[in-house]
């Protein structure tokens, strides 16, 4: 087994573990105070203008107005087309949208490489005009997603980099790591495109590498460009979990656990149970107006004030 394979396993394992640990950490944080922000798209019939169930008289007696379809639609528009940026920061959207869409294509491209690798391990050829129609389909889909991904990703990353470098407001807000994040992504993308264009036009080498990883077999010799591409990708996997680029996972929480989280606290319900637990937490805030003890004790420290 080559060094690249070993480091490849380590990188994937590291990426999965660190990202999962972060997701678990966030998911396990205690219930927080409601901090909704409207519009909330799942409000049936009201989401479009930003209305909520609070608009209804005796809202707590009315059936839930949750529209999953509206929420999924809003999610799809946001994830695929970065809709909020389109509305609020159009000049950046022109680069951010192709950048993100390009990355989605490349995630799909990697998935197809895996599928292709497994198929080839199973003896099904993945190539143009292969006997298997499915093999051909995977082959061409990989080509399309790869090409679109490299082109859009590079265009977007270059645009974002120069926007940050020359855009007055962006430049002022940026530090070294912001440029480095874009540069490492750009390096992976550019190298990927170079490897494809110069040494691996049908992705046979990459697919072969993935196959070797999936089957734990030794890898075949690879062209230098593909080797460099893989080393850069491995480096990205080690670096990525420590950056804000994991917002692809964090965004679930910022939207579903904060902005769109409008479940009311019902007596005897799950939320109430979590609130009761939190009110039992100890606090040690040092200001003189705060009674030390549990949150419940501090929050009912009225007598002291009333008698002052």
């Amino acid at each position: 087994m080559s060094g690249l394979q070993v480091i490849g396993y380590l990188a994937v394992g590291f990426f999965v573990v660190v990202v999962a640990a972060k997701i678990i950490k966030i998911a396990r944080m205690p219930i927080h105070i409601r901090w909704d922000l409207y519009p909330i798209p799942h409000e049936k019939g009201k989401g479009a203008y930003g209305g909520s169930y609070f608009e209804e008289i005796d809202w707590w007696t009315k059936p839930s107005n949750f529209s999953l379809i509206s929420e999924l639609r809003a999610m799809a528009l946001e994830i695929l087309f970065v809709q909020s940026l389109y509305h609020h920061n159009r000049s950046l959207w022109y680069f951010s949208f192709p950048f993100h869409f390009g990355l989605y294509c490349l995630v799909g491209f990697i998935a197809l490489l895996f599928i292709g690798g497994i198929m080839e391990a199973a003896g099904v050829a993945v190539a143009a005009g292969s006997g298997s129609g499915f093999g051909s389909l995977i082959y061409y889909l990989t080509l399309v997603l790869g090409a679109v991904g490299w082109v859009l990703g590079i265009l977007g990353a270059v645009g974002l980099f120069f926007s940050r470098l020359f855009g007055n407001e962006l430049r002022k807000a940026s530090v070294r790591s912001d440029y480095f994040n874009l540069l490492i992504l750009l390096a992976v993308l550019v190298m990927g495109m170079i490897a494809w264009a110069t040494a691996d036009t049908g992705y046979a080498y990459l697919r072969g590498f993935v196959q070797s990883m999936v089957t734990f077999e030794p890898m075949a010799p690879l062209p230098t460009a593909v080797v460099v591409q893989l080393w850069l990708f491995v480096a990205l996997l080690f670096y990525f979990p420590f950056t804000h680029m994991t917002h692809m996972f964090g965004k679930y929480f910022t939207y579903h656990q904060v902005r769109w989280e409008d479940h009311p606290n019902i007596r005897g319900g799950k939320i109430e149970k979590a609130v009761i637990e939190a009110l039992g937490y100890k606090l040690t805030w040092a200001a003189p107006h705060i009674k030390k003890g549990t949150w419940a004790e501090a929050a009912t420290d009225w007598e002291k004030h009333a008698n002052e």
């Binding site: 205690p30 409207y38 203008y49 608009e55 807000a173 530090v175 790591s177 937490y281 107006h289 002052e308």
Partner: protein
């Protein structure tokens, strides 16, 4: 150093006042305020106050915090700040907001989309210190360095290294009161990062750990409310006297004589107003009383501690103060055995009691809470009042959306349905609804009236609202046309009162502001005299 090119490094190291506010750099206003000489002057702190008070951010002192005299004092303050910072990221100490804050610290891409949405940043002429990410980035760097494991090492590596010094913390303290927490920035953020929350969490460090607060919010605000019953300082007896006086005034103005229900056990509704209404805008609780009486609603007011004042300033700066006041409100409702609490025309009271307190109330305290906007819409639509919108035909109305009602609660249409039913000449400001702009008085700004802070409010934080009002009435801006800005929120009205005064908006343009219920009563056909008195109070 130019005002516009202030970096975080300058913020941390530069000595003396960092930024000089110059009205000639603020965004120009529409006519008739397109001439600088028609705009109010921007006051400077006296030399004595500059020497005495921390004001090195922008020459404004919201906190009136005395400059520490010795290095030892500074060191203690820095240690306290860092202690509070660590508590913000502790599950037990800050369960209330730890998750949203953590997400905001971790995921900002610094795309500056929030800056396009921030009225304060834009109106100031894009001063860097007011950029929504500026204060967040400072907190983020401190969090990464002083809270995260290995932070000091990685801070140097990433180019984000800043030291916690009193110079920086004193500026950060003031900077936490240059944002109205309107959360337009959060609404525009593609990732869901919330720079408004950062403002609030910063204020919590100062209040909850360091005991440093803004006097109108804390000593004269929530502490006063918990002690006397109201942030106005009005205790039970004066409140009851006040209500008696208002009953007589209603009789004089409308010929209707009736007692306002008080402390009535078993009523359907406990109505809680912002107590400021009784003193500054008594026509508002009067109009509520007239409407509810005419509609036959079984409700009560309360004269118990805190329950005749719906304000809850803790919502802006302190979780514990917030919880204390909210629980007092619920305690009274529980004792009276009402079916629900209805909140009068006060935006932050709406959000505090309905949304925020939802994760504080348990068991019997969890009594349903509802907006007066929906109740009013229900009454108006039910036909229980005889209304004639033409009685408001002498004025052109527009609606100011309080942030707490719209963007933070999703109550958008009820107030519009009421307004359309009582006004034939209603026009919308742009943008409106959930995309509205803050009145400029949010998060405590409206009640902060010391030194030169009102100049910041009137000329920067309220500037976009002023612009919107001027824009919506631009074709009838002259004094010959009566124009009414309906602002169903005491806090927003407070900000407008000061802003209208500073610019002479009533005298120059004949624009008046007021609540929603006043327009409803003005449209009631069985009340002879106009209820709205077209004069400046």
């Amino acid at each position: 150093m130019s005002n516009k090119d202030v970096t975080i490094r300058d913020f941390c190291r530069h000595t003396g006042q960092l930024v000089e506010l110059d009205p000639s750099n603020f965004l120009p206003l529409p006519p008739p305020y397109d001439k600088l000489e028609l705009q109010p002057k921007f006051g400077k702190l006296s030399e004595a106050n500059q020497k005495k008070l921390e004001s090195d951010l922008d020459g404004i002192s919201a906190f009136k915090f005395p400059r520490p005299q010795t290095d030892d004092e500074k060191r203690v303050l820095v240690e306290k700040f860092l202690s509070g910072l660590r508590k913000l990221f502790d599950k037990q100490e800050n369960w209330t907001f730890m998750q949203p804050l953590f997400l905001t610290m971790e995921y900002c891409a610094k795309c500056q989309t929030c800056a396009t949405a921030c009225p304060i940043y834009n109106e100031s002429g894009k001063l860097d210190i007011y950029r929504p990410t500026f204060r967040s980035d400072i907190l983020r760097r401190l969090y990464k360095k002083y809270v995260k494991t290995g932070g000091k090492f990685f801070a140097k590596l990433s180019g984000n290294d800043i030291d916690a010094s009193w110079t920086m913390i004193a500026r950060l303290m003031e900077l936490s009161y240059r944002c109205t927490v309107c959360r337009r920035c959060a609404q525009s953020c593609p990732i869901g990062v919330d720079n408004g929350l950062v403002t609030r969490e910063l204020r919590k460090i100062f209040s909850q750990e360091m005991g440093i607060t803004i006097e109108p919010l804390h000593a004269k605000g929530s502490m006063n409310q918990l002690r006397t019953g109201s942030s106005t300082g009005m205790s039970k007896a004066p409140f009851l006297d006040n209500v008696e006086f208002l009953e007589e005034e209603v009789e004089e103005r409308t010929g209707r004589k009736f007692k306002w229900p008080m402390d009535k056990a078993g009523a359907d509704i406990l109505l809680i107003h912002n107590a400021g209404e009784f003193l500054a805008w008594p026509e508002n609780p009067e109009a509520f009383a007239i409407i509810l009486e005419a509609a036959g609603i079984n409700y009560t007011l309360s004269s118990d501690l805190c329950a005749y004042d719906g304000v809850n300033y803790g919502v802006w700066y302190d979780d514990i103060q917030f919880s204390k006041v909210a629980l007092q409100h619920a305690e009274v409702a529980k004792r009276l055995g009402v079916k629900k609490i209805v909140i009068g025309e006060c935006g932050h009271a709406h959000k505090a009691l309905t949304v925020i307190a939802d994760r504080v109330f348990t068991g019997d305290y969890n009594i349903p809470r509802e907006s007066s906007m929906t109740l009013l819409r229900d009454i108006v639509k039910s036909g229980r009042l005889k209304l004639d919108a033409s009685r408001n035909d002498d004025m052109t109305t527009t609606l100011h959306d309080p942030c707490n009602l719209v963007r933070l609660m999703g109550i958008v249409e009820p107030q519009r349905e009421v307004l359309r039913a009582v006004s034939n000449h209603f026009r919308e400001m742009e943008p409106h609804g959930v995309n509205n702009y803050c009145c400029g008085g949010g998060s405590g700004f409206a009640i902060t009236k010391d030194l030169n802070f009102p100049d910041f409010r009137n000329q920067i934080s309220a500037r976009t609202k002023l612009r919107q009002i001027l824009d919506v009435y631009q074709d009838i801006i002259g004094p010959e046309h009566k124009k009414y800005v309906c602002a169903p929120c005491s806090n927003c009205k407070g900000a407008m009162r000061d802003m209208f005064t500073a610019y002479g908006l009533f005298e120059r343009c004949n624009i008046l502001y007021g609540g929603l219920v006043e327009l409803v009563v003005n449209a009631m056909v069985d009340i002879d005299k106009p209820f709205i008195e077209w004069e400046w109070h």
